[in-house]
């Protein structure tokens, strides 16, 4: 596989469902080693765009390529070895243990029986997002945040050791939504660590604008199915944009440590 080509690329995507235009002419490229955050208000089309990029939703117009090859031409097994997807929520009805769920991440690599190598990866992925302590517990007995971390570990385990000439792709839909402060940090750091180690590319739907500004290399702002801004926090995090996109007033300030910009939402009055 050629690493010079675009890793994940969408050209002129339109998604129309029930005569509603959910995605309106979106083009997006994600480069090797890049952490891209997708932000925007509820109903802006973030999950729809993410699902279009995974192939779950077929666009009415436009096309999506993974390593230069259209998604439709990928065999599921081949795609699963280089790209992992974390959905917003996973509905489970059977009482699998945490370890069994994370081991499922190794499914694309081994036909059933895990090797020692697979077990080491499972252990590393579990420890990266701090689920090792309850590895033998039944997933159904965990809290929402603990469960979310288990699935994050599964997704990390899936592409942990993708072939060396390939930079794996992670597509994460609200990975931090149900996590406490500490574990939001743990998860985003684990992802960054993975990006650094493997030159992976990540697209994550996020809600916390300040966490996003600190973590992402690039922020894609989505509003009513359109990309309205696309750039670093430095370039895009502005008072006017927050008012345009989210319809709230905010004040932009800078962290003393890193000088990165952050936004304080004004709750008091107009």
């Amino acid at each position: 596989m050629n690493t010079d080509t675009q890793i994940l690329s969408a050209q002129n995507i339109n998604v129309i469902r029930n005569s509603q235009q959910l995605i309106d002419n979106v083009s997006l490229d994600i480069a090797r080693g890049e952490r891209v955050a997708l932000i925007g208000p509820n109903g802006a089309g973030k999950s729809t765009l993410l699902k279009t990029l995974t192939g779950e939703i077929a666009p009415n117009h436009g096309n999506v390529t993974l390593f230069g090859k259209p998604l439709s031409q990928w065999r599921d097994r081949d795609a699963a070895r280089v790209r992992a997807v974390l959905p917003q929520a996973t509905m489970l009805n059977f009482a699998f243990t945490v370890r069994e769920i994370v081991e499922l991440g190794r499914f694309p690599h081994c036909a059933g029986a895990l090797t020692r190598h697979d077990r080491i990866i499972v252990a590393e992925a579990m420890s990266a997002v701090e689920v090792t302590a309850f590895a033998e517990r039944d997933v159904l007995s965990l809290s929402g945040g603990e469960r979310a971390r288990v699935h994050a570990a599964r997704v990390l385990a899936q592409v942990w050791d993708a072939p060396h000439d390939v930079s794996p792709v992670l597509l994460l839909d609200e990975p931090t939504a149900s996590l406490d402060l500490r574990h939001q940090r743990v998860l985003l750091q684990a992802v960054s660590e993975f990006v650094k180690r493997r030159g992976a590319s990540v697209l994550a739907v996020l809600h916390d604008i300040n966490l996003t500004a600190q973590w992402a290399d690039r922020i894609v702002w989505l509003q009513r199915g359109r990309i309205v801004a696309n750039g670093s926090a430095e370039q895009t995090l502005a008072r006017e944009r927050i008012r345009d996109v989210y319809e709230v007033d905010a004040e932009i300030a800078r962290y003393r440590k890193s000088q990165a910009p952050y936004a304080m939402i004004d709750l008091v009055n107009e």
């Binding site: 069994e100 499922l104 499914f107 059933g112």
Partner: protein, 340 residues
């Protein structure tokens, strides 16, 4: 692992008990003589005849049908991602029942030559094709653009079952008393049809189904996360659905065809295994087969001894055992979903 020895003990006991009792030690001697381990002089010829021509086929049929129904149940539960799915959900059982009712009540419409040629096999063959046809209709209704929706399949299964029971009702309405009695007994299930030819047909079909199911175990684990999640883990979900449906159709179809409707094994066996060994299908499928086979052999033992010399229909027993269990299961699942 104590399950294997228990299964063997149940089988030996089932071979020993009956209208013509044979001591368990004799059972072992006769079986030993059959494979040349025991000198033929050491066994009673009459006991050997009873064992080989009546008991052994019956126990083997019970084991095969129990295993087939339990594995089909586990597969359906995996496919529907729900622990209370039943192997009859896709319409096989009700389609088979309609076909069986048709043969019992309107058997005279079949050409005499066909009836003579098929003899006792007319009803099983008709039932199998009725079950297969119903399942294929359900699958067809639920498939659009090459993608089968399990949710639509569930609804289509309910619809086809309702249609089939209307047909059965109509046939029961015009049936004579004798036909009605036959039909009722058929719907309650029985291993009474056991003989070596039946064992060969049922055993062969269910063995193939069990072998195919081994390869479905790991993909079914991935499917537990959801259909798209399984796809993102590299599972060809549509292909897996096709194989699961085919395997369940074969196992349930052949069981219903020769033994009538035997409920709850497909529900209870996989659930017990999940409680004991967890939900991993690599363990669940083979263990359900073992437990389902053992349960049905045990239930049949009770069915043919409790009102001897008559026989209780086995479906009555599996339902008596299964329904309370099913209710407990529902209550537990309800508790889980409301508290989670």
């Amino acid at each position: 692992m104590t399950a294997g020895p228990i299964a063997v003990a149940v089988a030996v006991f089932a071979l020993a008990v009956g209208a013509f009792p044979i001591a368990p030690s004799q059972v072992l001697s006769i079986l030993g003589a059959g494979i040349g381990l025991v000198a033929p002089e050491a066994i009673d010829a009459q006991q050997a005849a009873v064992l080989w021509s009546i008991r052994v086929p019956r126990v083997l049929l019970g084991a095969a049908v129990g295993a087939g129904l339990a594995v089909a149940g586990a597969l359906m539960q995996g496919l529907f991602r729900n622990p209370i799915a039943d192997p009859g959900l896709i319409g096989v059982t009700s389609g088979a029942a309609l076909a069986a009712a048709f043969v019992i009540v309107l058997g005279a419409v079949f050409p005499g030559k066909l009836v003579r040629e098929l003899g006792n096999y007319l009803l099983p063959f008709a039932a199998f094709f009725g079950g297969a046809l119903a399942a294929l209709i359900v699958k067809h209704v639920a498939t659009r653009d090459g993608v089968t929706s399990v949710f639509t399949m569930l609804l289509a299964g309910i619809a086809i079952s309702a249609l089939a029971s209307a047909g059965i009702g109509l046939l029961a309405y015009i049936a004579t008393d004798t036909q009605l009695r036959l039909l009722t007994f058929w719907t309650l299930g029985s291993l009474g049809s056991a003989n070596w030819s039946v064992v060969a047909i049922v055993g062969f079909t269910i063995s193939i189904a069990l072998i195919l199911s081994v390869r479905l175990a790991a993909p079914l684990n991935a499917l537990a996360l959801g259909e798209f999640e399984a796809k993102h883990l590299g599972v060809d979900v549509q292909r897996m659905k096709n194989i699961v449906l085919l395997v369940a159709l074969a196992a349930v179809g052949v069981s219903v065809a020769f033994c009538g409707m035997i409920g709850f094994i497909g529900l209870v066996a996989p659930h017990c295994v999940r409680l004991l060994c967890g939900p991993d299908h690599r363990m669940l499928l083979p263990a359900s087969a073992l437990l389902g086979g053992t349960l049905l052999v045990a239930a049949d033992l009770v069915a043919r001894t409790v009102v001897a010399p008559a026989e209780l229909p086995i479906g009555i027993l599996t339902a008596l055992l299964g329904v309370p269990f099913f209710v407990v299961l529902l209550r537990r699942q309800h508790g889980q979903t409301t508290s989670g």
